[in-house]
């Protein structure tokens, strides 16, 4: 079967891990990975037998058969890339916090309408992990306040995120509200340097107007099944439990261990979401079944 060709910008941890996930996909094939300079990441891609260029986005723009582009650079860089990709008619999946396009969390809002757009954003790792749970609870119980505490291992959070940690908390908060449906969101991130590294773990507190625990449990369970279709390592480790109108749910993500170790579930989940979006777009291009 013919696969849809994709390009990857930025051969960092995220970009390289994507290469492994694309390789496994029945719908996608990496045409090229680019960077603005030669790097270890490009060498790694070449060793995998993937074309790699240090000419930056220009080389991707030249190739007409690349139809989907993953941007794993930075918010500043994506602001420049977005219009270039749009002009070239390529579907952009933005893994940076630039958020030129709307937030897409596949389990919640990946609809056919989304695939008509030219640019979608994957929020943040915590956003991908917690927003579906907030959305599921909101659907049945009306969430008026959602608060998440996201613990990630020190090793899995890179210098770019560290320098822009406000962007991370603010973007995730916006996703809780816009995609999750909470009236108000609050996000806390804790970086833990323990060795061996901890798995990504999130606690999701929601204050709800209709505190019927059985209905909430059922909704969360259904949502988890949906997420697990593209993030197999997603697991609820506590709850939902309830006290007054506060529902507490804790979840953990074990990564697939592709390029990144399993404890980097935070990076794995954002990549798995990006692949899920790309596959849906690819299926549409192939004229296949509706995705929803």
């Amino acid at each position: 079967m013919k696969r849809i060709k994709v390009g990857v910008i930025g051969p960092g941890n995220i970009g390289l891990d994507l290469l492994y996930k694309i390789k496994r996909s029945p719908y996608l094939e990496t045409s090229m990975i680019v960077n603005i300079r030669e790097s270890k990441g490009l060498d790694h891609a070449r060793q995998m037998g993937i074309r790699a260029s240090s000419n930056g986005i220009a080389d991707i723009l030249k190739e007409d058969d690349i139809q989907i582009v993953f941007d794993c650079t930075s918010a500043t860089a994506h602001l420049q890339h977005a219009s270039l990709l749009k002009e070239a008619g390529k579907f952009a999946i933005d893994l940076t916090p630039a958020a030129v396009g709307p937030y897409c969390v596949p389990a919640v809002n990946l609809t056919d309408d989304f695939l008509e757009l030219d640019n979608v954003n994957t929020v943040t790792c915590a956003g991908q992990a917690v927003t579906p749970i907030v959305a599921a609870i909101n659907e049945v119980a009306d969430v008026y306040y959602a608060e998440i505490v996201s613990s990630v291992s020190s090793k899995s959070i890179g210098p770019g995120t560290r320098k822009n940690i406000d962007e991370f908390t603010v973007t995730t908060k916006e996703a809780l509200e816009k995609v999750g449906g909470a009236d108000e969101g609050k996000v806390i991130i804790i970086v833990n340097p323990a060795e061996p590294p901890i798995y990504m773990r999130n606690t999701i507190f929601t204050k709800v107007k209709n505190p019927d625990l059985e209905v909430i449990k059922d909704a969360v369970q259904k949502m988890v099944e949906k997420i697990r279709t593209y993030v197999p390592g997603y697991e609820i480790i506590l709850g939902p439990i309830i006290q007054g109108d506060t529902v507490t749910t804790m979840m953990q993500v074990a990564g697939l261990g592709d390029y990144l170790p399993v404890y980097s579930g935070n990076l794995d989940i954002i990549n798995s979401a990006a692949i899920n979006i790309a596959e849906a777009y690819a299926k549409k291009l192939m004229g296949g079944d509706q995705i929803v």
Binding site: R162, I165, V170, K186, P193
Partner: protein
């Protein structure tokens, strides 16, 4: 000897003790009392820092910005500071805090994660704030790593870096080793924040000073998370006895504790040690069983128990001379009525 700068965090770390329920009136009165007592920096806000009011840490009675405004209205000399934990607080919240009256910020990260604070230190410096890098849980890493992280804070532009013993878990030798290394390797001043969980808060603060620290934290009555922080009034007493230069006033700090903080705690149903005046026994160097006798004499003749004990110390009273206290009280009472 270098001057010691006192930071009192009754209204921030002490906020843990009252489950973040300080009122605007508490904020104003306590801040006023602290300024009056010569405290250089007064920290205020939710115990977990700016916008830390959450399900996870407990909701505060008031938002940080109202508390800051209430305290700022009372201050002309002391610097009002806030705490910001990157990952919880944001630059946007810091801007609002500055508008409300904050002049300084302490950017707090886990001891191995200083780079989580780069964005905030730089933004705060651009805003013209006095910036402290606050390396929390300093017992959890070794001296070399701590020094590397402190150097990062210095490179971002921090004015001071703290060895913060958030767990109250450091032994005096750990404090000495870590503060000494920062003193040796950094150009900016070093601070220490102690918790009294092992009963070592004052002692560790002194050890930090001996190792070169010049910024020291305390709370009135030793309020603060866990067993509390270093007692500000005890610290002042000890610094006085050792001849260190600082801006604190012992009696006024004790008064702020007894007349402002303790009544506010009582209103919240909290009681703490009723022997705060015992501090003066150690300060004056008098026999410990004098305390109750001096209190009775003070009450009977209308004089400050502290003055009685101080005078007993000056007269070099020894154990067993409780009778002197009556005579001292009478004399002080007469002097005053002259």
């Amino acid at each position: 000897m270098s001057r010691i700068y006192l930071t009192d965090t009754t209204l921030r770390d002490g906020s843990h003790t009252v489950s973040h329920q300080f009122t605007l009136e508490d904020a104003a009165q306590i801040a006023g009392g602290l300024e009056n007592a010569g405290i250089d920096i007064i920290e205020i806000g939710h115990g977990d820092g700016l916008i830390g009011s959450t399900i996870n840490y407990g909701f505060g009675k008031h938002d940080d910005f109202s508390l800051i405004s209430a305290a700022a209205s009372q201050l002309t000399k002391s610097k009002l500071a806030v705490l910001l934990l990157p990952g919880i607080g944001t630059v946007e919240a810091l801007q609002k805090a500055q508008k409300a009256g904050a002049k300084a910020v302490r950017i707090a990260t886990h001891v191995t994660e200083a780079d989580m604070g780069e964005e905030h230190v730089k933004a705060a410096k651009d805003m013209g704030l006095f910036v402290v890098g606050f390396l929390m849980m300093a017992h959890m890493t070794d001296v070399n790593r701590l020094t590397e992280e402190a150097l990062k804070f210095e490179s971002y532009g921090a004015d001071v870096v703290y060895v913060t013993d958030s767990g109250g878990a450091m032994l005096p030798k750990d404090v000495f080793e870590k503060v000494s290394s920062l003193k040796k390797n950094l150009k900016i001043p070093i601070g220490h924040h102690a918790h009294n969980n092992l009963g070592l808060a004052v002692s560790n603060s002194l050890t930090a000073i001996e190792a070169g620290a010049t910024y020291i934290d305390g709370c009135l009555s030793g309020l603060g998370a866990g067993a509390g922080n270093t007692s500000t009034e005890s610290l002042i007493a000890v610094l006085n006895k050792m001849g260190y230069e600082h801006g604190g006033d012992l009696y006024k700090a004790m008064d702020a504790s007894e007349k402002i903080l303790i009544p506010s705690l009582k209103k919240k149903g909290l009681t703490i040690s009723s022997h705060l005046d015992a501090l003066i026994m150690g300060y004056a160097g008098v026999y410990s069983s004098f305390l109750l006798h001096a209190r009775r004499a003070g009450e009977r003749f209308g004089v400050d128990v502290r003055d009685i004990l101080m005078e007993a110390g000056r007269r070099k009273a020894v154990g067993g001379q409780e009778d002197w206290l009556i005579e001292i009280a009478v004399e002080l009472s007469n002097k005053r009525s002259l």
